[in-house]
Amino acid sequence: MASRAGAISAALLGLAVAALTLGSAALTAGHATDWSLGPADGAALRFTLLQAALSALVSCLLAIPLARALARRRFPGRLALIRLLAAPFLLPVVVAVLGLLAIFGRAGPVNAAISALGLPTLSIFGLHGVVLAHVFLNLPLVARILLQGWQAIPAERFRLAEALSMPPVAQFRHLEAPMLRSLLPGALATVFLLCLTSFAVALTLGGGPKASTLELAIYQALRFEFDLGRAALLAALQFGLCAAITLASFRLTTAAVFGPGLGRDIAIPAPKGWRRGADGVTIGLAIAFLMGPLLAILLRGLPGLTDLPAGLWPALGRSFGLAVLSAALASGIALTLALAVARGQGWLELTAMLPLSASGLVMGTGLFLAIHPQMSPEMLALPVTLAVNAAMALPYLFRLLLPETRALLADYGRLCDSLGLSGPARLRLVILPRLARPLGFGAGLAAALSMGDLGVIALFAGARTETLPLLIQRLMGAYRMEAAAGASLVLVGASFALFWAFDRWGATRAAA
């Protein structure tokens, strides 16, 4: 039977993902000679948890009014704004940090305004700076997730609420709160995990060694002390934490409670009066907060565009190819796993979330140990980067796809079966069109994440396998900050264009 073949291939894919994440950590541990944690590792653990928890909470709390305002207001440029919302999440971290510094830094407009008022200037460095950066990077992601949640509430429910003359508060309690209740634990967990494994933000904006994260300690153990045992222990600690969070979020996540609508354009009631003003202020603040640093990146990068190095275009081509391939690979795996989980292979759900818990550094090191010395790591730099990038993007795609896949099977599974619609035809005629929206959004995320990723390639790459982020790092390392800013702008533009193309593909396929 076709579904058996599907189940088996899903199981094999799940095992491959598990091997990539767990196996690489085991390989790293296998090369260890000494097993001990340092005295500072406890402090690193505490700081890691604190900043991740704060970042997740603030991101989610701020995303609720923003997503709600975007869901119920219509204004010119709204769709463009929603697409642009993805931008901060897609930024390479170093670029994002410099953009934030340009706005909130010592020489930025925020402090200029504050000192014009005669107040003491604010420093962006410290725990609050780390949280600010994480909120900047993740708030838009959460807002997008919640916005999709709002759009998934069938219009009939809002009409029912209006027919019952429910005041906004009651409407929130009966329609919106259950939706939030089903989406927020997952969103919280996702942001928490992202911030848990964050490295450059915590280190750059943390303001000192008290802002050490576990990932930094892993980096230090791997790259500086060559203490594979400590790296593996820290990775296991980080892994355990992430796995616990993931499991907890599964417990808290309830299934979406809404039946299918017919895909008509949804007009969510938009209350007038002060709520209208509040929504406007919310959207305005969000635009200022999210777009200010982007604008700064644009302005910083423009002069450098005249000074781009010759290696830029091949590097861009490589990054672009990697991004498209890893988006395709991640989408294929995520869809296979989501279909399998929706059909009852529940254990695969954990597998699909595994890469979220893994340290990219440890994954890269494990793969390196697996490959060397049988093959030159440089030869495999691009395939390995492809595999790791696809694996790292898998959890997001899977999270996006699973609820919609479940709904699809519940709503149309029997109809497909009764019509004998199976295999490739079912994929082409039903699954891809019905899931086009989350697939396009997710593939766009995967492509952009891959585009901006520096992690694994740095361990493997030689001169001939340079990607754009690596090129930018090399430019900065050679004092060429202006050219680096220009190349960063190209990178941001390319990431965004890729994301936009995928997302748009999904939206038009879904609307058609």
Partner: protein
């Protein structure tokens, strides 16, 4: 879509080339081999004489480079490693992976340095770089600590300049190092993972000074015709970073490796260093340094911990730094 066939194509080309000419694999840090670093000129120059194919393999910075060689162990494809600094040579020597270089001692260093395995090819003094518009640049760590100037430094756990700074304070102040760090705590705006983030922040105006090299102003002067940057001269002296190259004991091209090391410290290769790596050459140049280098500060005292001592105290010094700043 094309990247995999492309990579496979490179592999084929590379292995075809291998069959015809011997290949010398040189592991180095990123910026050395980048198109703005000394790598391309040195590759071209060496290949005209060696009838071989010189290939650079890059791995982050100097520390990542050593980690990479350790990760690969005796099976490493590397013949030569270029770019470990003297704070890490003790750790490198302990791996037993390196062989004697057999070259005569270099003569351009401000303090004598000789090691059977590790051959210096360039050097520089660590220094705090500032804009010339800064009214009263500090003249010592103590003065810096007493001021309300803001500085950006690098993390000694992830960057070689960061480690150099810890060693600088340690060698200048010994047991008072912790006290100096405590004093500097309120001057430190932030600690970055690597040199480039710190330098970028400084250029963006986030700090008055940044930990870099005395030669940094030469880049702005020569490459950008901007004479607005200067390095602050510290009375207690400046710590040296000496970058070394070494031959792998397991190299399958030992003769080529020797020839490369000899070339690396030759007049031709050394002449490339100042305006590509923005460091001083390890051997004096017959033509002297490029115009612009004469404007740089010349510290009276050069500090350098003997490499065994540096290796032995590294962990404790970093812990001291961390404890002082984490209070």
């Amino acid at each position: 879509m094309k990247t995999i066939p492309l990579a496979a194509g490179f592999v084929c080309l590379a292995s075809m080339a291998m069959a015809e000419t011997p290949v010398l694999d040189v592991y180095t840090y990123d910026s050395f081999a980048s198109e703005w670093g000394p790598g391309p000129a040195i590759e071209k120059g060496f290949e005209t004489t060696c009838a071989c194919d010189l290939r650079f393999v890059t791995a982050g910075d100097g520390a990542a480079l050593l980690a990479r060689v350790q990760l690969e162990g005796p099976a490493s494809a590397a013949d030569v490693v270029v770019g470990i600094d003297t704070n890490l040579t003790a750790q490198a020597a302990a791996t037993g992976l390196f062989a004697p270089h057999g070259q005569p001692a270099v003569t351009g260093l401000p303090t004598p340095y000789e090691d059977a395995n590790f051959l210096p090819f360039d050097w520089g003094w660590f220094a705090f770089v500032h804009n010339k518009t800064l009214a009263n640049p500090p003249k010592s760590f103590e003065e810096l600590a007493a001021s309300d100037l803001k500085i950006v430094i690098q993390d000694p756990r992830s960057s070689t300049p960061g480690l150099g700074l810890v060693m600088w304070v340690k060698s200048a102040y010994g047991d008072r190092a912790a006290e100096i760090w405590t004093g500097l705590k309120d001057n430190i705006v932030t600690v970055t993972p690597g040199w480039s983030e710190a330098y970028g922040m400084f250029l963006e105006g986030e700090a008055d000074l940044v930990l870099s090299y005395t030669t940094s102003p030469a880049y702005h002067l020569i490459a950008e015709s901007d004479d607005g940057k200067a390095a602050a001269a510290f009375g207690e002296g400046h710590y040296l970073q000496i970058e070394v190259a070494a031959k792998l004991a397991a190299s399958d091209q030992p003769a080529l490796a020797d020839a490369f090391l000899a070339y690396l410290v030759s007049e031709e290769a050394q002449g490339v260093i100042p305006t590509t790596n923005w460091m001083y050459p390890a051997n004096p140049l017959a033509a002297g340094l490029p115009k612009g280098f004469e404007t740089l500060i010349q510290p009276g005292t050069s500090l350098l911990l003997p490499q065994d001592e540096a290796g032995a105290m590294r962990e404790a010094a970093v812990a001291e730094w961390q404890a002082a700043l984490a209070q």
